[in-house]
Amino acid sequence: MTDDRDVLRDVWFGRIPTCFTLSQDEITEREAEPYYLLLPRVSYLMLVTDKAKKHFQKVMRQEDVGEMWFEYEGVPLKWHYPIGLLFDLHASNTALPWNIIVHFKNFPESELLHCLTKDAVEAHFMSCIKEADALKHKSQVINEMQKKDHKQLWMGLQNDKFDQFWAINRKLMEYPTEEGGFRYIPFRIYQPLNERPFIQKLFRPISSEGHPHNLGDLLKEMFPAAVTPEDMEKQYQVVIHGIEPMLETPVQWLSEHLSYPDNFLHISIIPLPRD
């Protein structure tokens, strides 16, 4: 018997085997071995790469160490996207482990935000949660929480403590039963190699006729091309947490169970290679 709790658990404990390699451009004193880690899908790069950073700094001179940043196949990886999203967006359908290049210089100012300490990640994470709650509950839930609850959310994510995080996060997932769902679903739709960062609009979990909206309804409105007509060949994969949920899945359920810890449903739309 599988409970929806198990879905939360599976989502939380998703890991991506990653191989960090130091960029060829970096000057090293001796050769840098690649470094292997299991990265939590729901976390952020800057939170989980301390070990890799230490590993590479051992072979570098102190003065050559600038701000660390990551690159995958020429694309600088945005640290403020959850790891799972970065992987789904840029590296799904490739062989594992995920090969990430580590840089300590030539920071791509135009493409990445600076992240000097983990406080920046925390600030970004909390602002996402707040934005999500503004959409879901007009910020009522997050505003009623105490400072320590906010801290617990962050610490739960940072220390990979599922219980600690969900003890608080479940409050953000509640809604009045008579309304049948959140006010709006916090979601973002991403495409690889697109100028626009992502699509985000107001979308209600329940239609004006009172039916629950499903993933298909959402896509039809936001990204019609992703919904394959019956007689057509599938052009896009719609990926959340490395899986492709059926288009019949209610968005409310998705929002409650497949949102990232920042309370957003990050949906990647990957074009299928034409053969």
Partner: protein, 1235 residues
């Protein structure tokens, strides 16, 4: 809580009811009559129709109302004829009642009214005190009146037998006219009616006091109304000090009436013995020139309406003014002169029915009515709306504010074909019109709507900006979004607030609103979501309702700002006032509303009714939809893909040891036994295999030496909260501690701390045993004597013939809720019964109660309430001077004590258990076991002794039991079955696993009726309906075993076997009377696959011998054990009991779960007991565990031999889970011991 009804009559005399779960007034099913007055209680509604006759509307119930008529046939022996109906002249009648004094031949029994019909013909009862009689049913005695026996002796000179016939009430769900009286004083046409008094006595069951007032002002009482006789028998006139205009009756002993002259009269001396009371007391109205015209009482309140202050009028008009079918026009005109102030009487209660003083409520109403829980409704004087008094609680009986019920009528909805706009405007009309002349209100609405348009635009803009903000969250670039975003949005919302604020101010200027406008608070919540503002604050009301209008165009989004913009506001002007119901009378006497009840009455609704939802249990999450299965499958695949080959990779985030520390008190293991302060710490860590483990340390000091005690979390078998008022403590058991009957006992300073620790420890135990999610279908369930619910996963070797798992090693985890009895079967269907006899069905969830977050499922946890009694004893000793008095001997017990006499328990100082609150006052309990006299006393020669309910010359002491009801409100995976109250249930233990096959469930109602539940399947554990199975006497216990063998125990202690029960014939055909073991009264039965076990009232356990397919009744009872409270026999014929007392190595335990060892097909009685968890256990069911022992685990799934017997489908247990657990558990235990 099941829904209940508020009844009302409109000015056309049409009767409507409004469900607490509903949103629409529904027209009474029986529309044939117009009514002017109603008086409702839960089970029925009495009314006076326009013909001035009284009618009763009895709600149909799944147990039919039937009445047992009985008469006795008496005979005397004479040498010539033997026994014959020729009696001596001094003898009783040949046909008589039980006393012999009343002549009642069979053919003179007539049906009381056309509402009744005979169920069967007369037949002879062949049962005396649980023993079957000879054929013919004769019982013998030396003479009349004497003790009758079933055996004929040489000196048996007389004999008698009992004839029985049932009649059935056939007029449920319709207005049945109370027949005109043929004898006695014939009452005039009636003018008012009141129903109540069900709390005065429960003897007979369902007693009601019905009082009526005639047009001439006389008061009548209806005799003999109870569950079996809903219409009562005759009217008895009650003398009054003057002519009465109106009468009211509370649930308890409050009864008041209003005299023509305007005084209030209060009935005195109503009690259990005399429900009619003895005398009247007069209470003066609030001021002498304005007398009372209408009054209503509850348990502790009295509300009244006075005559119009300004004009004064002839009170005789009142009756007609509220009698619309006759004088519709006149009534409308006379509204003005019936204007009436509402008054609340302070200090009214059972002891002081007169109260202390009047409080004016400053509102004018036509009438007020008090319902259950002292809730109050009224009908507005000018608008004829129904108002509900909001905020009435036991601490504030006068409540807080009046709220208008704006629910619309069902047929309105139908005729408008669900037009949202018109309904919405109706809601607005009700909301805005309060106390405003209509012209002015329209003019204000014009302004109002134009203003609302502006507002709508404004809010739209604001929303847009919020949306913009949402779509470009990284505008600030530095990631510090929360500083930038929140104040921004807050400011916008504050703008919305300002817009709202301006409207009522405008309104206030055009009207003469006295109330100042409340300042909107900083948080957005109140004015955006509150839809039913209290009446006092007119400003707030207008906001609330104008929003609710707009909301109603979108039923799913009742609290959104954005829809404001899309709604056309001018529509109010098209409103036709004809569509609004004008109310004339209402009755809330059957309407159960409590402080926490959610009502949907105060907002106008559109579209589909949602109320239906609350009646059916939502489908549990176990019913997987395709997309959900797909997601779970994909996640598993993902984990395989991304993790399987990379397990050797380092984790990016290290899992550290996690420690929770605290301070507690510990009950020392050794002498001196006392509570000492300790430090505790729970250390949890994740092993290399990813499994969580934990150790719980208790650090203490002994002789200045620091010591500690530790328990591994995988060693703990149960955590038991021990709630009592002095200490917040809990017990930790391990197998070793269970053997000792000496758990680790710890206490925390606060209750919250205790539950926090219990939740944390419980999670740690479950983690270390890898127990997550809901219990399996095979789970064992048990209930403690505190009503706490525990569940345990059985292992395949639990019932092994060789080396079964010792029962003290079972791990029990707690499930939220409060129950007395719990029963289950291997399909995963679980039913429970609360202390208040409410039946509950398991929803498939877990957690609830103090379990929060991950230890609990969310979508199938419901609120559960239970009510129980706390008892204390008043003790007295006889002395020659004063007789019985509270002056005892110095050696005597406390004069107010607990049952044992060891603890002093006074009325003032006795507290309800933690988490429980009082819901009644102390009252004398006349149902104390052993019987009582008329004042509730029980007598004995000395303390402590056995008590009897009558006084003899040898009795020097007496006691009586006082009871007080208390209530708990908690949560758990339980859904209320309703409405029949139950005392026992049984589910067929083993059935086929096909999901759509029905599971048989039998039950005994709290009244002793035998019931069979239809339509229970795996998918619908709630089932569909009850079927009533006739019996000649009340029953106490029932059990259905394999092959649909149904056994039951009657209240007289006899056993019965039900013949021919099968899936095709779920109710069987007849009862076979099976005498109990000699001189024993049986109290409980449990039937396994073939074994039948019973328990008698002296704690003996009996096995029924000689049962075979051809002779299912068996041949005789075999004694198995003493010291047994309850037995549960399972689908493998395994036998588990709750034992009365078990001696452990350190201490004695009462109420201990025990497992019968050595039970085998050839030896169904077994050989000895293995002792499990306890004491303090009250109930266990192992009837779901059909998990067979197997030496070959691979064949487990198919190995279900005993279930594959003829005409019985096999059971495939959910074995895999159990299997897993046992291997882990043993491994871990071994590990623990080695450490």
């Amino acid at each position: 809580m099941p829904s209940s009804l508020l009844w009302a009559v409109d000015v056309h005399g049409r009767v409507y009811s409004l469900s607490t779960a509903g949103q629409y007034w529904e027209l009474c099913k029986d529309e044939s009559l117009q009514f002017k007055r109603l008086a409702a209680v839960k089970q029925c509604c009495w009314g006076i129709a326009c013909d001035h006759q009284i009618y009763v509307y009895v709600h149909s119930s799944e147990v039919p109302i039937h009445y047992q008529e009985e008469t006795y046939e008496n005979q005397r022996w004479n040498p010539v004829d033997g026994f014959s109906d020729r009696l001596l002249p001094s003898d009783r009648w040949q046909w008589s009642d039980v006393t012999g004094l009343i002549h009642q031949p069979l053919n003179e029994f007539k049906l009381a009214s056309p509402q009744w019909e005979w169920e069967s013909d007369w037949y002879v009862d062949e049962n005396i005190g649980g023993e079957p009689t000879e054929k013919g049913g004769w019982t013998y005695a030396i003479d009349f009146p004497a003790t009758y026996t079933k055996d004929k002796r040489w000196n048996s000179c007389v004999r008698r037998r009992r004839w029985i016939r049932y009649r059935r009430y056939n007029a449920c769900d319709m207005w049945a006219k109370i027949p005109l009286q043929e004898t006695g004083p014939l009452p005039d046409p009636f003018n008012d009616i009141a129903v109540g008094g069900w709390e005065i006595t429960d003897e007979p069951l369902g007693h009601l006091s019905v009082w009526a007032v005639t047009v001439q002002g006389k008061v009548f009482y209806r005799e003999n109304i109870n569950d079996q006789n809903p219409e009562g028998s005759i009217w008895t006139e009650i003398q009054t000090p003057g002519e009465v205009v109106q009468i009211t009756c509370g649930p308890g002993d409050l009864l008041c009436a209003v005299l023509w002259e305007g005084q209030l009269i209060v009935r005195d001396g109503i009690n259990r013995e005399n429900p009619k009371g003895s005398s009247w007391k007069i209470v003066e109205p609030p001021n002498s020139e304005n007398g009372l015209v209408q009054v209503s009482v509850g348990v502790n309140v009295l509300w009244a309406i006075t005559r119009d202050r300004r004009r004064g009028r002839n009170p005789r008009l009142n009756g007609n003014a509220l009698c619309p079918p006759f004088c519709m026009n006149f009534a409308l005109v006379s509204f003005k002169c019936t204007s009436s102030e509402v008054w609340f009487r302070r200090g009214v209660c059972s002891e002081n029915p007169v109260g202390t003083g009047w409080i004016c409520m400053n509102i004018e109403m036509v009438m007020v009515n008090v319902g259950l829980n002292d809730q109050v409704w009224g009908i507005g004087y000018e608008d004829r709306n129904i108002y509900f008094r909001h905020g009435v609680t036991p601490t504030e009986y006068s409540g807080k504010a009046w709220k208008i019920i704006v629910a619309s009528r069902e047929h309105d909805r139908a005729s408008r074909t669900g037009s949202a706009t018109s309904l919405a405007s109706a809601g607005c009309f009700f909301g805005d019109e309060v106390r405003l002349p209509s012209q002015v209100s329209i003019s204000s609405e014009v302004d109002f709507s134009s203003e609302m348009d502006k507002l709508a635009k404004k809010t739209e803009n604001i929303l847009e900006t919020i949306g913009e903000r949402a779509s470009c969250p990284h505008a600030s670039g530095d990631g510090d979004g929360d500083v930038a975003s929140s104040p921004d949005i807050e400011k916008k919302c504050a703008d919305v607030a300002n817009v709202f604020e301006t409207i009522p101010l405008m309104g206030a200027s055009s009207e003469k609103w006295v109330q100042p406008v409340a300042e909107p608070s900083v948080s957005q919540a109140p004015y955006l979501t509150d839809q039913g503002g209290p009446l006092q604050d007119g400003a707030e009301l207008i906001i609330a309702h104008s929003i609710s209008n707009t909301m109603s165009s979108d039923p799913a989004e009742t609290s959104s700002v954005s829809s404001v913009g899309t709604y056309p506001f001018g529509i109010e002007e098209h409103y036709v006032s004809d569509e609004r119901p004008l109310w004339a009378w209402l009755s809330g006497g059957g309407c159960e509303v409590e402080a926490h009840t959610q009502l949907n009455w105060f907002t106008a609704q559109s579209g589909q009714p949602f109320s239906q939802l609350s009646f059916s249990m939502p489908i549990s999450c176990t019913q997987q939809t395709v997309w959900r299965k797909q997601i779970i499958h994909q996640l598993t695949e993902r984990s395989k893909r991304e993790l399987e080959d990379f397990k050797h990779y380092e984790q990016a985030v290290e899992q550290s040891v996690w420690i929770k520390k605290g301070a507690m008190q510990w009950w020392r293991d050794g002498k001196p036994y006392k509570w000492i302060d300790v430090r505790v710490a729970l250390e949890q860590f994740t092993g290399n295999d990813g499994k969580r483990d934990g150790i719980f340390f208790i650090y203490y000091t002994f002789n200045d030496e620091k010591k500690y005690l530790h328990v591994f979390s995988n060693e703990i078998t149960i955590l038991v909260p021990i709630a009592n008022e002095t200490k917040h403590s809990f017990a930790i058991y391990t197998p070793e501690r269970t053997k000792q009957r000496w758990p680790i006992r710890l206490a925390t300073t606060t209750e919250q701390e205790m539950y926090d620790w219990l939740a944390v420890l419980s999670l740690a135990c479950c983690d270390s045993r890898d127990l997550h999610g809901p219990p399996s279908n095979q789970a064992l369930w048990s209930v403690t004597c505190k009503g706490d619910i525990f569940v345990s996963e059985p292992t395949p070797n639990l019932e092994a013939a060789q080396h079964p798992l010792p029962s003290d090693q079972l791990y029990w985890r707690q499930i939220g809720g409060h129950l007395r009895i719990i029963e289950s079967n291997s399909q995963g269907i679980v039913w429970g019964i609360g202390y208040d006899h409410t039946a509950w069905v398991y929803t498939g969830g877990y957690g609830g109660g103090f379990f929060q977050g991950l230890a609990s499922s969310t979508d199938n946890i419901y609120t559960q309430a239970d009510v129980m009694c706390v008892y204390i004893y008043e003790n007295q000793r006889w002395n020659p001077v004063t007789g019985y008095s509270s002056r005892g001997l110095p050696t005597d017990r406390y004069m107010w004590s607990d049952a044992s006499g060891l603890q002093e328990c006074t009325k003032a100082h006795t507290k309800p258990p933690p988490q429980w609150t009082w819901v009644s006052d102390w009252y004398i309990d006349f149902n104390a076991p052993g019987g009582t006299d008329r004042e509730g006393w029980q007598y004995a020669a000395d303390f402590p002794a056995s008590y009897h309910g009558y006084k003899t010359i040898k009795d020097f002491v007496r006691r009586r039991r006082w009871a007080r009801k208390c209530k708990i409100v908690t949560t758990g995976p339980w859904f209320e079955v309703g409405p029949v109250a139950l005392r026992d249930i049984s589910l067929i233990p083993c059935v086929s696993q096909k999901a759509d096959d029905a599971s048989a469930l039998w039950a005994i109602s709290s009244k002793g009726d035998v019931l069979c539940r239809l339509g229970i399947t795996k998918q619908n554990a709630l089932g569909l309906s009850w079927l009533h199975i006739g019996t000649d006497q009340p029953f106490a216990s029932v059990s259905i075993g394999g092959y649909y063998q149904v056994w039951a125990i009657a209240r007289d202690g006899a056993a019965f076997y039900r013949g021919s029960v099968s899936p095709q014939n779920p109710t069987g055909d007849c009862w076979y009377h099976i005498p109990p073991p000699s001189k024993q009264k049986l109290i409980q039965v449990s039937v396994g696959q073939t074994s039948v076990y019973t328990v008698d009232e002296n704690g003996n356990l009996w096995f029924r011998q000689g049962i075979s397919p051809s002779y299912p009744q068996g041949s005789c009872w075999q004694h198995v054990s003493t010291n047994v409270r309850k037995v549960s026999v399972g689908p493998l014929d395994q036998v588990w009991i709750v034992a009365d007392k078990v001696q452990g190595s350190h201490s004695l335990s009462c109420g201990t779960v025990c497992h019968r060892m050595g039970v085998q097909p050839r030896e169904p009685i077994g050989s000895g007991w293995d002792y499990g968890i306890g004491g303090g256990w009250d109930h266990i069911t192992i009837r779901a565990n059909s998990m067979e022992t197997s030496h070959n685990p691979v064949s487990m799934a198919s190995d279900n031999a005993p279930m594959n017997l003829p005409n019985q489908d096999g059971t495939v247990g959910d074995n895999s889970r159990g299997n897993l657990i046992v291997s882990e558990q043993q491994e871990l235990n071994g590990h623990a011991v080695n450490c």
